[in-house]
Symmetry: C2
Subunit: 352 residues, 2 copies
Amino acid sequence: MRIDELETPCVVIDLDRVEANLQRAQDYADKAGLRLRPHVKTHKLPRFALRQMELGAVGITCQKLGEAEAMADGGLRDIFLPYNILGAAKLDRLHALHGRVTLSVTADSAVTVAGYAARFTDAGHPLPVLVECDTGAGRCGVQDAAQVVALARQIAAAPGLVFRGLMTYPPRGGQQASDDWLAQAIAALADVGIGVDVVSSGGSPDLYKAAGLKVATEYRPGTYIYSDRMQVAFGHGMLADCALTVRTTVVSRPTATRAVLDAGSKALAADLCPSPGHGHIVEYPGAVITGLGEEHGHVDLSDCPTAPQIGEVVHVIPNHACVVSNLFDMVYLVQGGFVVAIETVTSRGRLT
Amino acid sequence: MRIDELETPCVVIDLDRVEANLQRAQDYADKAGLRLRPHVKTHKLPRFALRQMELGAVGITCQKLGEAEAMADGGLRDIFLPYNILGAAKLDRLHALHGRVTLSVTADSAVTVAGYAARFTDAGHPLPVLVECDTGAGRCGVQDAAQVVALARQIAAAPGLVFRGLMTYPPRGGQQASDDWLAQAIAALADVGIGVDVVSSGGSPDLYKAAGLKVATEYRPGTYIYSDRMQVAFGHGMLADCALTVRTTVVSRPTATRAVLDAGSKALAADLCPSPGHGHIVEYPGAVITGLGEEHGHVDLSDCPTAPQIGEVVHVIPNHACVVSNLFDMVYLVQGGFVVAIETVTSRGRLT
């Protein structure tokens, strides 16, 4: 099928750009001596996760249990789930998944560790647990080295658990300070005789600065596979690297300076980024998507030398590719003007 | 099943509130002499669309062809699709739908009308077309009465089409000026001998002011069925009227003033509203959801006299209920602490 036969709006993914983005990152990580454990939240496709493994990734990262289950179904065999898994129902599912794949998780509280310890009791097949550290991003994570030590001890004391190491999502631009924070925690752990196998950092924006990290052993980039307008605004690559676009039709031209697209917040998501508007229209770089209805994108053409006609199809690089993947049941993989595969987004909507 | 057995995050919908919201609006419309044609984009459930019809609606409104097809599959028989439908594939689908249900559409350009006229040629079963008017909201729509007349003539001249009337989405608070705009267009049409059957206005925020409208014959409220934080901020009802909440678990308490929920932008959507943050936590009204990761909601508890514990379940009224419906494959209908039905959101993800 030719790309121009696709109904709009739809997601098209440029396979050559995907391959270039993956290869570039793996080459960099290999040279830097960092193991890559890509975050699949961006693409949500076993096909691409398997390709990331082929290229040299040591495993994958999933952000929800349901996402991890879908990836296990898709043939992935080493999954890191950096999330506090709580509650009997989810712990049962986690236990089942632990029987299927090489699994590791995180905890940032005694409550979470106690839940794992109660459900996982087989010392012959313990669940590896990393301690999540808030190294400045203000998300989840323990706040200091003393808390790291306390949780590591609690994990080590549980027969069915094994302390694996530390995990953080560093603040953007604060990767180095984050690494220093982790180094202090590792020293504190060493003082009490606890060793650290894995130190996991992440974030696509600072991926190509990660060679300077001293203690990180693994890196979890996610968005780098597709990139998006936000990544470019953060200094990660160029618009020409962006592999995911939303194909959309101009359905209205109410005035000389206004166009309306058939892609709204249900197709582009409402996430903002440092660049103005709700996405970059490849064919009309001066256009600004000023607003989104659910099914309409409103475009200001004031700064465009030429303007699209009603019925014309354009391509939008979204502000945030990951949330767009979550909105579409299927995506089209394209190469040289042709659709070479249609992929169901198996992990889409896995909310629990 | 009891509500507290549900895994989080999930959407729970309070049936008593739904019923009260629907009944209140229908009663108001009946007294005002307005026909209701509810917009189903908010709930995306045939079950509720059928209930809206039972209560007295004259039909429903859908925003995408795929949504209309799903509603037709669900038993709805009178569907208004206020969208410029363009392209051979979509016109074929529209034609098929026209054979199944009582259908009407809109156009705001000669291009759109020409597409309808070429595909619909049966004078014995013409497609009703309304002209969409931009009465100040700056979305789709023709800009003045002369354009209305030109399009109405083009529609009337096509054997397989019939001119049905005018449609607008008025700017919030500008309902009355919008009505005046439409009155002028109706007068201009009368001057050339063209009558108007239907004048369709909409918008939940101003629903309870619609009795003052002079020319509108139909009204398309959408969000009123669930309401949400944005509606309340706009003056439509109270938080206690909101029927849709996201059940979510506190998965982390990194500091005394920070909590993290297992509901992020994939559950709550990133839409903003005049109230601060990304949703209202019913159990902790002083809490502010300051940020959303995809799978985490970050909560500032500084203004809360008490704080939730790790593992505690809370309910969030989202900023925008419609986009939340689009994120979940299924929703739980609840009454008196029990789940009374599990509904698949059949129109979710219908992007084309």
